[in-house]
Symmetry: C2
Subunit: 251 residues, 2 copies
DNA sequence: TGTACATCAGTGAACGCGCGTTCACTGATGTAC
DNA sequence: TGTACATCAGTGAACGCGCGTTCACTGATGTAC
């Protein structure tokens, strides 16, 4: 009477339960890690018989895949929001180096905040792989490349501005050759190709990103001890400066 | 008659079985990962009753701890050997910047070679933590800090040479303050303290190391795809150059 | 509007599995006199 | 050198557990006429 349901009761229930399953599974993931994720435990938490879950999920591995995609998308949303905030009210459409740097800072900061808030989800997508599980690439890649696509445009922003296009002249010529050879497949990827980056800049961009990921892992997984560093936020910011130094360096 | 056994039959058998248990467990680790490590499976492989293992190992977690310590020590041995090769035949005892750089390269290269050869052991010590397991620090730390101790001396070598002692003057003064505050506990650690590093150099050293660890993880865990990069050895070498740039940069 | 049938959601019991850990035990190795 | 006893290594059965997955089923929701 009040509102016309576009879908019947069943469809709505189904959508709601799908959400609830993912939510509960995410909670379990956060509590005990991916390896301990159990269909029976999730069903128990939902007040369902274990067999009922098979109406929504093909198998335990399938549930893991759903969680991975969800994690990628949550991170992607967080990064999108951070970038939108940076771009807000900017009228110069031309990508300057300063803009690119600000966007890079926004990305790393959003990554860090999200990782800090969801360490197990972070471990799921950027940590060591879950044993006995292989993610089906065709399902995870679309969500998994969202952040990387942003990074590529940032890198291009850094490349195309002040220093001109021939950034690859800087540094020893051997480096360019090494980068071209070592990253051949990656340079051939359509997404990367469309960014049109000089190989050494891609190498440096990867370095900057791996520096950030390594740092986040070091903090989150407490590889130097439980209280190192004392001020993680400041430490990540300082590390972002170092990462930017890497992609700026060849000038 | 031929040789005098310093220990009786029992002691020798015990030592041998201890070794064998660790060897089999390591094999299982390499095949199915830490979370799937099972005392029963190890016992089966050794032709023993499951209960027999409890003469050698207090619990499953205890076995994991042994594996972690062993992994740290194997890596430590590999790094020691690589450093010994670099130092071989060097008569100038003074630590020059060039020597320090060569030693850093030796460390990262040894790390990469070892990680490539033993990915699961690498994941055990530098990957995301094993769920439901907390390593007892007093048992893992001695082995775990071996490599880090080498890194500290390398950093000091870079600091004390050409540029003089007051490296911290370089860069914005704010950076030094941030580093001092963010890394206070670490700077207070006796091992770090004895190296006498300026805070910003420690920050940069951590960055260099995290860049390397992030890169190794990226390759090993195939975070960019199964065939990225095409030439991992060259890629790691190129990344080591970037890492060195970070610790050299403030000059 | 009402009826007959198809579809779907969820149940509950069962299968077979492997796990960590305990415990009373047998037989071999060491030790003290 | 030989004997009596203590120590240790390894056995085998058992405990209780949780897991993923299948299957025949009941009852509710949808659909076609």
């Amino acid at each position: 009477m009040t509102d016309t349901p576009a879908q019947g009761i069943r469809a709505r229930n189904r959508a709601a339960l799908e959400e609830e399953i993912l939510a509960v599974a995410t909670r379990h993931l956060a509590r005990s890690g991916a390896a301990a994720l159990s269909l029976r435990a999730v069903a128990r938490d939902l007040g369902l018989a274990p067999s009922a879950l098979y109406r929504y999920v093909a198998s335990r591995d399938d549930l893991l895949t759903l969680l991975i995609v969800r994690a990628y998308n949550e991170l992607g949303d967080a990064v999108d929001a951070a970038l939108a905030a940076v771009d807000d009210g900017v009228d110069t459409p031309a990508a300057t180096a300063a803009r690119a740097e600000a966007r890079f800072r926004a990305i790393t900061s959003a990554l860090w905040q999200w990782a800090r808030a969801h360490p197990h989800q972070y471990a799921l997508i950027y940590g060591s792989p879950v044993p006995e599980y292989h993610a089906p690439a065709e399902r995870t890649t679309p969500a998994g490349t969202r952040v990387q696509a942003h990074l590529l445009t940032v890198l291009r922003g850094l490349a195309c501005s002040d220093a001109g296009a021939q950034t690859d002249e800087a540094g020893p010529a051997a480096t360019a050759a090494v980068a071209t050879r070592a990253l051949a497949s990656l340079l051939d990827d359509p997404l990367v190709r469309s960014a049109g980056l000089p190989p050494t800049l891609l190498l440096r961009g990867l370095g900057a990103w791996n520096l950030v990921l390594g740092t986040v892992g070091c903090i989150l997984f407490e590889q130097l001890g439980p209280d190192v560093p004392d001020d993680p936020d400041a430490y990540v910011t300082a590390t972002t400066d170092l990462a930017l130094e890497l992609v700026r360096a060849p000038r």
